[in-house]
Symmetry: C2
Subunit: 407 residues, 2 copies
C-alpha cells in the first residue's frame, strides 16, 4: 500500500446528468466576454421588478440587525403564518401553519417531496415534457421516472387517465406534475386535476403538484390547485416558491405543504438536517406578502403581451411550430433543425447578427421518451416586448443561415 | 382498484434520524411560550454582532435593486474572486477561482462532498464524536460511516494512524473530519493532519475537511488547513462556510473547494441542479470579505473568556468532567446522569430555577460506537460571560436536583 493512488469520484456523480438548461452557460459567457450581446431566452429569469415591499423589508430588517442568526428549520413563524393568512387563504387554499414549511426554493421542496414519497428503486409517473431537474433528483435518489407523453402538436393535451393506468406497477409511488407547466406552458384544467386526483386516490399514490407558476395563468378560469381536490388530502404534496410569484428568484425561498401529517413530519426531518432556510430571503418573502393585487395584474398583462409576441413570431418562421401556452412563461417550439442542442450551441459559438445572438434551451432532456424533442427548444419569454422582437428576429435569421436545417 | 388507500411515506424518510440538536426544540418552545427563560447552550448560534460591512453590503445592494435574480450556479463571480483574493490568500490557502464554488452553507457543501466521494454502499471514516448531520446525509445517500474513537478522558486526542488502517476496506472512499471539531472543540495539529493526508494518499481516499470553525482556534499555532498537506492536492475536498466566521449563520453561504478537477466538475453538476445559492446571503458574504482583522481578534478573545468560564464552571460541578477545547465554541462534558437526553428533556419540561432553565444537546448521537456518550452533552459557549455564568449556575443546581443522577 505504499504507492499513491489518486481517488476517483463516485460513479453516481460521474453518471449524474449535467443540467441541460445550464450546460450551455460557458458558451454564452464566452460570447459575452468577447463583446457579443446574447438575448437570454434560455432561463426562466424574468426582468420584472421585484415588489418594493419585498426589498424594503430586507433593508428595514438589516438596518436594525445585530447579527444574522439561524431561524427555526421550518422557517420564521412570521413567514409561515403570513403565507397561510395573507397568501394561501386569499387564493382559496385552506391550510394550517403546521401543514407547511419553508424550503430552500422550489428546488429543495420537490427534491424532498420525491424522497418522502418514494424509496430507491421506486417509480414516479411524470407528464412529459417536464422540468429537467426532476430527472436529476430522481437519479440522485435512485428513483425511476416513467412518463406519460403529451404532444406538442396537440397543444400538450393531457391524455386519458388510461395512459397513466398503463404505467402503474407495485413500485409506483407518486405522480409528479408542474401546473402551469415548465417547459410547455400547459395549464391543467380542473377536470384534468380531478381525474388525476381520483387516479392517485385509487392507487394510493402521492400527487406532487409543483405550482410555482400559479400566478401566471392566461385563461379566464382561476388556477385549480391540487390542494383543492376533494378526498385527496392525504395524497397531495404541494411544491411552491416565491421565485416566480414575486420575481424573487435569488431569494431561494420555497414551500412544501400537505395535509398529510406523516409527510410534514418527514419534511421537518429534512429541514432540520440543513438547519434553516436563507434568512434574508425569508425577510424578502415576508415583505412580499403585502404585494398589491395590481402587481400581479400588471405582470400578467405584460406576460400575455410577451407570449403573444413570441408565439406569433415563432409560428411565422418557416418550419417552426409552437402551440399557444396558457400558463408560466415558456413555450416549446419545434424547429426545422436536425438537432436543437447543436443549433443552440451554434447560436452561441458561431452565429452573430450585428454582434448579437440568442440563447435557447434544447428540449430533448424535458422528455423521457427516447428521440422525442430532439428538434425542439424551450423559449422563456422573459424579455420586454421590444427586446423579445429583436431576439425573435435574430432567431429567424439564424434559422435561415443554419447549415443543419431539415427543410 | 376502487377502494381508497392512503399513501405511505417512504421507508427512507421514516427511518431517517431526527436531528438530535433540533428535536428538543418543541420542548424549549413550549417552555418559552409559558414564560420560562431558556439559556440556549444547545445550538452553535452565537450572539456576536455580524460585521457591519456585511450587513451594509446587503442594504446597499437592495437600495439599488431592480429585481432579485438568479446568479451563476457556482455563485457570483465577485464573491468567488473575493474569496480567493481577499480571504484564502490571506490565510495561506492558494486556490484558483475555478477550484471553489459557493454552496448553500456548509450543510450543502459536506452533503455534496460525501456524494462526490462515495457511492451508495460505500464507507467513509469519521473521527468520533462528529457533527451529527454527517450521519444524516450518510444515511440519505446509502453511505456507512465507520468511526475512529477519540476519548473525552484523553482530551479527544487523535489515535495512531493504525486505528484508521484497521477500518479500511475496499469500500472505503474517504475520511471526513471537522477541524476544529464540532462537537469536541478538538483542534487537529499539523502533524495529525499530515499523517491523515499520508493515509489518504496511500489508500487513494478523499479527505473531506470541514473547516467552518477555522477562525476559532485558541492556541498560538495557526490553523493548519488540509488544503496545505503536500501531495494531497487530488485527495482534499474543503468544506467551508461564512456562518461562523462572520457570524452570518442565517446567510446560508458556504464553499466547496478542491484542486481535483473531477471533484469540481461534480460539484458544479450538483450546484446546477439547485440553480443558485441564496443571493442576498451572497451579497452579505461579499461585504464580509472586508471584515477587519480586529473583528476576528476581538471575537477570539471573547470566546477564550467564554470557554474558560464554561470549562471552569463545568469542572467545578461534582461529577462533571470536560477537557479544555482548543477550537470552535463547543465543549463536550460528561455528566453524573444515567441518560443525558432524558436530562436535557427534563431541564426543558420540569426544572426551573427562578423561572429559568438551560438547553443542552445530548451527545450520544455524535458517536457511532454504541453506548458511548450516553452521559455526555455538548455545550455551546455562545453566550456573553455574565449570561453564561447564570446558565452554568442553573445547570449546577439542576444536577443537584435531578432524580436520575448516578453519583
Amino acid at each position: 500500500m505504499s504507492s499513491s493512488i489518486a481517488p476517483r469520484t463516485s460513479s453516481k456523480v460521474q453518471a449524474m446528468p449535467a443540467s441541460a438548461i445550464r450546460k450551455l452557460v460557458p458558451f454564452s459567457e464566452a460570447a459575452e466576454a468577447s463583446g457579443v450581446k446574447v438575448y437570454h431566452l434560455n432561463v426562466g429569469a424574468p426582468d420584472i421588478k421585484s415588489p418594493d415591499c419585498a426589498i424594503d423589508a430586507v433593508i428595514k430588517k438589516c438596518e436594525s440587525m445585530h447579527h444574522l442568526s439561524y431561524t427555526n428549520s421550518a422557517g420564521l413563524i412570521e413567514l409561515r403564518k403570513g403565507l397561510v393568512e395573507k397568501y394561501y387563504k386569499k387564493i382559496g387554499i385552506d391550510i394550517e401553519v403546521s401543514e407547511l414549511l419553508v424550503e430552500v426554493a422550489g428546488s429543495e421542496a420537490f427534491a424532498v417531496a420525491m424522497q418522502i414519497a418514494a424509496d430507491p428503486g421506486d417509480e414516479i409517473i411524470v407528464v412529459e415534457p417536464f422540468y429537467t431537474n426532476y430527472q436529476t433528483f430522481a437519479f440522485l435518489n435512485g428513483l425511476t421516472l416513467k412518463a406519460v407523453h403529451t404532444d406538442i402538436r396537440e397543444g400538450f393535451k393531457v391524455p386519458d387517465i388510461s395512459e397513466f393506468e398503463k404505467l402503474v406497477t407495485p413500485k409506483t409511488k407518486a405522480v409528479l406534475l408542474c401546473n402551469p407547466c415548465n417547459p410547455s406552458g400547459k395549464l391543467f384544467t380542473k377536470e384534468e386535476m380531478l381525474a388525476l386526483g381520483d387516479f392517485c386516490i385509487r392507487h394510493g399514490l402521492f400527487l406532487i403538484s409543483d405550482e410555482v407558476y400559479r400566478e401566471f395563468c392566461y385563461t379566464d378560469e382561476p388556477h385549480f390547485s391540487a390542494m383543492n381536490i376533494p378526498g385527496a388530502e392525504q395524497n397531495v404534496i404541494l411544491v411552491d416558491s416565491v421565485s416566480k410569484r414575486y420575481n424573487l428568484c435569488g431569494a431561494r425561498i420555497g414551500v412544501i405543504a400537505s395535509h398529510n401529517k406523516d409527510v410534514m413530519a418527514g419534511a421537518l426531518k429534512f429541514a432540520q438536517s440543513r438547519l434553516c432556510p436563507p434568512v434574508l430571503g425569508q425577510y424578502a418573502s415576508i415583505g412580499a406578502l403585502d404585494t398589491p393585487q395590481e402587481y400581479f395584474d400588471e405582470v400578467r398583462e405584460e406576460y400575455i403581451r410577451r407570449r403573444d409576441t413570441a408565439v406569433e413570431a415563432l409560428n411565422a418562421m418557416p418550419g417552426v411550430f409552437t402551440p399557444t401556452p396558457y400558463g408560466a412563461f415558456y413555450t416549446v417550439a419545434e424547429l426545422p433543425v436536425d438537432n436543437a442542442e447543436a443549433f443552440a450551441k451554434w447560436l452561441l459559438t458561431e452565429f452573430r447578427l450585428d454582434g448579437q445572438t440568442v440563447m435557447v434551451t434544447p428540449a430533448a432532456s424535458f422528455y423521457r421518451t427516447p428521440g422525442v424533442g430532439v428538434n425542439q427548444v424551450r423559449i422563456a419569454y422573459v424579455l420586454e416586448v421590444p427586446e423579445l422582437r429583436k431576439a425573435m428576429h435574430i432567431l429567424a435569421e439564424a434559422l435561415k443561415a443554419y447549415p443543419g436545417k431539415t427543410n
